[in-house]
């Protein structure tokens, strides 16, 4: 399996061009390094001392300065050319627009539709269709964060009071890992998100599914869980479309069970982890904004039973 968070394994147009540019830089700088090593080695090992005049050295230093200038000029041009081509990558297609808002320490992801009913809100997971450019609008609610999806594209900061944007063009289906790259406080290390590149058909299906309101609870346990989630503490911070829960402090839970991870990429999304998370979020991710909710083990298991239906 190839690495899912690596700039050396590009799966998008931007990352691929950057990786190529890296090879060019590596080749040119490696050549210069070799020249320095050769000269230094010669200077150390040279036997016939004191015969050379500085005149020859003066010519050589001039040549060396020229060579450096040419090398730097070439690299600068290559860098500009790459930057420019990336800026126009996929400009002939209508991009998918979405918005990522960062906060300590998770990501809200929103696909704005024409009406609120056509808007998808999710968290810590981005779905993108293969081969279609995406334009991600970036904002931050509290401190500066930085979105870095190394397999797809380089990073861009999310800065309070400003709007920045990131363009990318996925070229490979797969699940990639992104992470906050700007130190953003206590749990900076635990601020990741999953980026899923789907085929256009899969993406359309995901979109359609995500536009549905949350399914109604069926079993008794699920109903009890639903009552706790919407009636008690959870709904103050979390939203579930189609229910009375519309808090905006924490991640939207409408499709929480469909996501691969919990707590911004920290835990696998499995029953045992979800139960532990609800039992004591501060033990797992100290400093995050979710408090410890006093629930009995039975209530917890009901809540989990309900949340697991939110696919």
């Amino acid at each position: 399996m190839s690495p899912i968070q690596s700039a050396l394994h590009p799966a998008g147009a931007h990352a691929a061009a950057t990786a190529t540019l890296f090879q060019i830089f590596l080749g040119v700088t490696g050549f210069f390094f070799l020249l320095v090593l050769l000269f230094l080695g010669w200077a150390i090992l040279r036997r016939d001392r004191g015969t050379a005049s500085d005149k020859r050295l003066r010519l050589t230093v001039a040549a060396w300065a020229m060579l450096i200038t040419v090398g730097l000029f070439g690299l600068t041009l290559a860098s500009y050319a790459t930057d420019r081509s990336l800026f126009f990558a996929g400009h002939d297609q209508k991009p998918l627009r979405l918005k990522v808002t960062a906060q300590q320490w998770w990501w809200e992801v929103r696909y704005n539709g024409a009406t609120p009913a056509q808007t998808i809100t999710t968290a810590n997971e981005i779905h993108l269709p293969l081969g279609r450019p995406a334009q991600i609008e970036l904002e931050a609610d509290d401190v500066i964060h930085s979105l870095w999806i190394p397999n797809l594209v380089g990073k861009e900061d999310l800065i309070p009071g400003r709007t920045t944007d990131l363009q990318l063009l996925p070229r490979q289906v797969g699940r990639f890992r992104a992470q906050c790259a700007e130190f953003c406080g206590l749990q900076h290390a635990h601020m990741a998100l999953d980026v899923v590149v789907d085929t256009p058909e899969q993406f359309a299906a995901w979109e359609a599914r995500s536009l549905q309101p949350a399914p109604a609870p069926r079993s008794e346990a699920q109903k009890r869980g639903h009552a706790i989630v919407t009636g008690m503490h959870c709904s103050g911070c979390h939203a579930i479309t189609g229910t009375d829960a519309f808090g905006t402090v924490g991640p939207d839970l409408t499709r929480v069970a469909s996501r691969a991870t919990l707590a911004a990429g920290e835990l696998p999304n499995a029953r045992a982890w979800l139960t532990r998370w609800i039992a004591d979020p501060q033990a797992i991710k100290p400093g995050n904004r979710m408090p410890r909710i006093p629930l009995t083990p039975a209530q917890r298991s009901d809540v989990v039973a309900y949340l697991e239906t939110l696919k």
């Binding site: 690596s6 380089g154 992470q179 290390a189």
Partner: protein, 634 residues
């Protein structure tokens, strides 16, 4: 009756007279009141090395935590404090001060003068630096150490997201180091421009002096930016201004511009003195003048200028206009040209000289190899598209440790080995020193080379832990093992210093047959530096056959020869301040004012009044050229 040195007054009699005038009072009071640049410089160096040790311990703690994925050894909160302290200590309490410290000790000797300019300010600068550093570390041990990184980006460092006193401690530490560094810079500029030995025109100055001159000017121009930035931050935190608060019309990026306008020159403020070390060492051990002296001077000056045009390359990911980024890419690339020319000139000096392979020259070789790698990875991060992948990843951690350790610490260790006999009168132990170079070189690369890969594989900086299975585990383990071995090599170096201090082979005045003036007098030099002020007729005065001197300075008063700025013609005789403890008390008053202002803005007012007391005594008018019956003027 006043007497002047001269042909009829020299030798032991002159020595006795000058020693009486220039020595400090014995005992604790003399220790406290000294303004001798050599004593202050030595203190400065020792203190900086203590902070290097402390910063190194923090680095090891981080590597211990990162050795394994999902390690629970150190909590997030503690780790964030540790990396903030590591950066702050290494940059502000080790790297910049140690370079100024060497300059404070060496520059007056190299310039052929008896004392640094403004010697009391120099003592004050040291005390402020010491108190600032001690204050930071006590705060850290009391769990109020900095937590927002050495760069303290707002709003994370602002009042809302860093409540408590931790960030105030950081910001105030910056104030301490600003004051200390600016004071040092002013002294060094003045000493270099006005106290050179007659005949040492600018184009005959040792390259180390050029480095320090450029560095000092950079400090003068760079520090005000961070002073402004940290003052804004303190007032945002303390009195409710909104400079950095976007919701009230402030701007979070303002901090980054101000900080990096200082922060980028800062790394050259560390690197350029190291360039000076390398030039002196290369010259001495190749037994020839450094090839391309004018080129070397131009290179240092142009690096100093270009350094102020690069700061935005720390901000390529902040979404500023792309056309603007192009200029910073070009400027960042351009700095590789003077850097490359310097590398060539040193190598050419070795190539064309008759090198003696003593330890300092091996440090130069370790420096060239390591620094060139760091410089070339620097060319990579200058490119906007590449930087967007590399920025804030472990690749950058690798890059700047290559340029800071490879580019500054290796030359520094070479400089310690080189000037140790001048400081102490004894040589450092061999062949231990040579093995030390090899050991440090190998373990350094073992630690930091893998980080290039870790970064390319997607690991961001400043994370207190990382998940298993992303391909980072073994690379991190290798870095951690390397870090402990590298620390052992630094410890070995310290051990060698301590051992050699008492048991090293005795060195004469000039054990390496060096060419610059600091090697003219015995090691360690007498308190008055030079019995007669030397006259300089070339770039390598001690390699000349005749070594003229200029007599005529008074011996029963502290008197200096002042020369013209460009040509170093003899110009004036000027007084040099005698020892005095008021700088120490002024530093204490300043410290109280700075500490108080963490808690209340009124401390700025009463602190100023408090500081006025020692300053009044410090500056009490008197005629320093008027002979006094005894030393000191309290």
């Amino acid at each position: 009756m006043t007497r002047v040195d001269g042909p009829d007054f020299s030798g032991d009699a002159l020595h006795a007279a000058l020693a009486k005038t220039w020595s400090d009072a014995p005992g604790f009071w003399g220790w406290l009141a000294t303004v001798d640049h050599k004593r202050v410089g030595r203190r400065y160096i020792v203190t900086a090395f203590v902070f290097l040790g402390l910063g190194g311990v923090l680095a090891l703690l981080m590597r211990l935590q990162l050795a394994r994925p999902e390690s629970g050894l150190i909590s997030a909160d503690r780790y964030n404090q540790i990396f903030s302290m590591h950066g702050t200590t290494m940059m502000f309490l080790f790297a910049v001060p140690v370079m100024e410290a060497f300059a404070v000790y060496l520059i007056p000797l190299m310039m052929g003068t008896r004392q640094i300019a403004f010697p009391r300010l120099n003592a004050f600068s040291y005390w402020i630096y010491l108190f600032g550093g001690v204050f930071l570390w006590i705060a850290f041990l009391l769990n109020i150490g900095p937590e927002a990184g050495w760069f303290a980006y707002v709003p994370l460092a602002g009042p809302e997201y860093s409540p408590g006193k931790r960030t105030d401690v950081w910001a105030q530490l910056i104030t301490f180091t600003e004051v200390a560094a600016l004071a040092g810079a002013v002294e060094l500029i003045t000493t270099i421009l006005k106290q050179r030995a007659p005949g040492m025109s600018l184009n005959r100055m040792p390259l180390f002096a050029w480095s320090i001159l450029v560095t000092s000017f950079m400090i003068v121009f760079a520090m005000p930016a961070v002073m402004l930035a940290s003052s804004f931050l303190i007032s945002d935190r303390l009195v409710g201004t909104q400079f950095y608060n976007p919701t009230e019309g402030g701007d979070a990026l303002l901090w980054q511009h101000l900080f990096w306008f200082f922060g980028h020159p800062e790394v050259y403020i560390i690197f350029i003195p190291a360039v000076g070390f390398v030039s002196q060492i290369t010259e001495t051990f190749s037994q020839r003048q450094v090839f391309g002296y004018p080129l070397m001077v131009m290179a240092v000056v142009s690096i100093g200028l270009l350094a102020f045009g690069l700061w935005v390359h720390h901000m390529f990911a902040t979404g500023l206009p792309r056309i603007g980024y192009s200029f910073y890419t070009a400027a960042s690339m351009m700095i590789a040209l003077p850097g490359g020319v310097q590398i060539f000139c040193w190598t050419a000096t070795i190539w064309s000289g008759r090198p003696r392979w003593e330890t300092p020259l091996w440090w130069v070789v370790a420096f060239i190899v390591t620094f060139v790698i760091g410089g070339l990875s620097g060319v990579m991060v200058a490119s906007v598209p590449l930087d967007l992948q590399l920025h804030d990843s472990y690749f950058v951690v690798a890059h700047f440790h290559y340029v800071l350790i490879g580019g500054a610490v290796f030359p520094l260790l070479g400089a310690v080995t080189y000037w140790f006999p001048k400081f102490s009168g004894r040589l450092m132990a061999e062949p231990l020193g040579r093995w030390n170079v090899l050991f440090s070189f190998l373990t350094f690369h073992l630690t930091f080379f893998p980080m290039h890969l870790t970064g390319l594989l997607g690991m961001p900086r400043r994370v207190y832990t990382y998940p298993h299975g992303l391909g980072w585990d073994s690379l991190n383990l290798v870095s951690s093992i390397g870090a402990f071995l590298f620390a052992a090599s630094v410890l070995l170096f310290f051990g060698n210093m301590v051992w050699s201090l008492s048991r090293g082979r005795a060195a004469g005045a000039n054990p390496w047959n060096a060419a610059s003036l600091e090697w003219k007098m015995p090691s360690p030099p007498p308190c008055y530096n030079f019995d007669h002020i030397p006259v300089v007729e070339s770039r390598t005065p001690l390699w000349d056959d005749d070594r003229p001197v200029i007599p005529g300075l008074q011996t029963d008063k502290r008197e200096l020869l002042v020369t013209t700025a460009i040509d170093a013609h003899s110009d004036l005789r000027d007084a040099s301040a005698p020892p005095n403890a008021w700088p120490f008390f002024a530093a204490i008053a300043t410290t109280i004012a700075f500490l108080g202002s963490i808690f209340t803005p009124w401390a700025v007012i009463w602190g100023a009044l408090l500081m006025a007391v020692p300053l009044i005594f410090w500056f009490w008018p008197h005629d320093p050229l008027e002979p006094k019956p005894e030393q000191g003027d309290e």
